[in-house]
């Protein structure tokens, strides 16, 4: 694993209108890592991902990607640098076909030239998407829509992929399948930062994790350490 820091968030505050959603949040992700952000509903996890993606601009602090400050960039510029977000609730384009959804994933400039290659990889990871490529996205099952959302993210040719609540509302078998694919994606050199409410699962899948409460990071460490941490056990495993 490379020791190079790919994504570095330093002391950011972010607001939704007058409500402060993030307070002095810092985190770092190295190239090739799988990192989890864990926390209850409303703890600021999604806002953190949206701030990295440029949908929300931090009021304070900085976000660096590959050594470059991206905190003032717009979302479409950030995607072009190689940061893909798979949003909560999947948000596939319902009235576009599966194939059109995937093609839209390669909208940014650096992804267009490698579209055919990435499409082949996505179909290899999710054969069901190739079978259903001419169907409208809204006709897919929840699990298939999540696969499409993830595939669409991969089509943008990312260096890092931000996943928001990937397993929410899906059957355990489908969730297992998605995590298997995540490990495969990581094998191919794509860094993964994911947000989860399922603490047990997160600490199995991730190398490291950050735990958020009320817009602040309250704990961080390797997944193995956190599994043994008393506060985590008490708060999340009920032990």
């Amino acid at each position: 694993m490379s020791e190079e820091t790919l994504l570095k968030v330093s002391h950011i505050d972010a607001f939704h209108g007058s409500f402060q959603a993030l307070w002095d949040v810092s985190l770092a992700v190295k190239a090739g890592e799988i990192v989890a952000i864990i926390g209850a509903n409303g703890s600021g996890k999604s806002t953190l991902l949206d701030t990295i993606s440029g949908l929300v601009h931090p009021a304070k602090g900085s976000i660096e990607f590959g050594g470059r400050d991206i905190s003032a960039l717009e979302s479409f510029q950030i995607v072009n640098l190689g940061i893909a977000q798979v949003p909560e609730g999947r948000r596939v384009f319902p009235d576009l076909t599966v194939l059109e959804n995937l093609i839209i994933g390669s909208y940014n400039r650096q992804a267009r030239s490698v579209r055919g290659q990435n499409l082949g990889r996505v179909y290899q990871l999710f054969p069901v998407l190739e079978q259903r490529k001419t169907q409208l996205a809204k006709t897919l099952s929840g699990g298939e829509q999540q696969m499409l959302a993830l595939g669409r993210g991969l089509m943008s040719n990312p260096k890092i992929i931000l996943l928001d609540e990937m397993s929410l509302g899906l059957a355990p078998l489908v969730v297992n399948e998605l995590y298997r694919v995540l490990r495969e994606i990581r094998e191919r050199g794509i860094t993964i930062l994911f947000v989860e409410q399922n603490v047990r699962r997160s600490l199995i899948e991730a190398d490291r994790a950050y735990i958020m409460e009320a817009g602040r990071i309250v704990l961080s460490g390797s997944a193995a350490e956190l599994r043994e941490e008393e506060r985590v056990k008490k708060a999340y495993f009920g032990a």
Binding site: L55, S75, F76, V79, E100, I104, Y107, A111, S156
Partner: protein, 276 residues
Amino acid sequence: MGILLGGLYAVIALGLSLVFGVVREINIAHGDLVILGSYFGYVAMTAIGIDPILSLIGGIPLLFGLGFIIQKYLLNRAFRISLDATLIIAFGISIILQNTYQLIWTPFPQGLTTSYALESFTFGPVRFPLTYLLNFVVALLVMFFLREFLKRTYLGRAIRAAAQDRKAAHLMGIDTDQVYAYTFAIAAAFAAIAGIFLGLTFPFTPISGMAYLIIALGVVVLGGLGSILGTFIGGIAFGLAQTLGGYFLGVAAQMLVAYIMVLVVLAVIPRGIFGR
């Protein structure tokens, strides 16, 4: 005859429907952009002596550019304040355009009177003006072009994606402000086309735009938002209602019949015939 007239209404309404469906703006100035297209053809014909249809080579890029600027520098900014703000800005543009036309071209009616504008052909027992057939063919061509464009190009797909989910579109690397500007530009280019064929069919004045805006709104309501086929069917339904109403109840009642139909459709299927 109503069906053929409907083709013209469909082309006029298409730009309104596109902007409504994608950007969610009601472009009050759309009718005035159509009339700008008519005046462009008028100037090309009277001052330079170019055929109005041929003048579209200049008219389409001109309105495309104007539309791009209006959305990018006025409406996108207003959009950040509220959707109502875009309505007021568009209303302002409408008034500015109408007054400009009056200053330059006087309030008197003008027409694009070409040799073929007065031609007619016979089909069965009825004689049709040639321009009506032309309108219908152009409507088919324009709709086909738009459909293929939205289906096959990156920009077309981005326009549809931005219409369906703005946040997800951002996450796909789509600059929605830019996409909205292109959408409005395309709608304005359609207005250029509509303006020429309107001018070939009917006389127009600086304030004709408002009347056609209202017809176009009726067509969009009939057909359903953001549906190309719906706009086409809506145009034909409107044209038919108007012509049949005129035939059976007299010319004074023809618009009344069309709008009663719009009201009935609104009451029974509020999303329109092809609405989502």
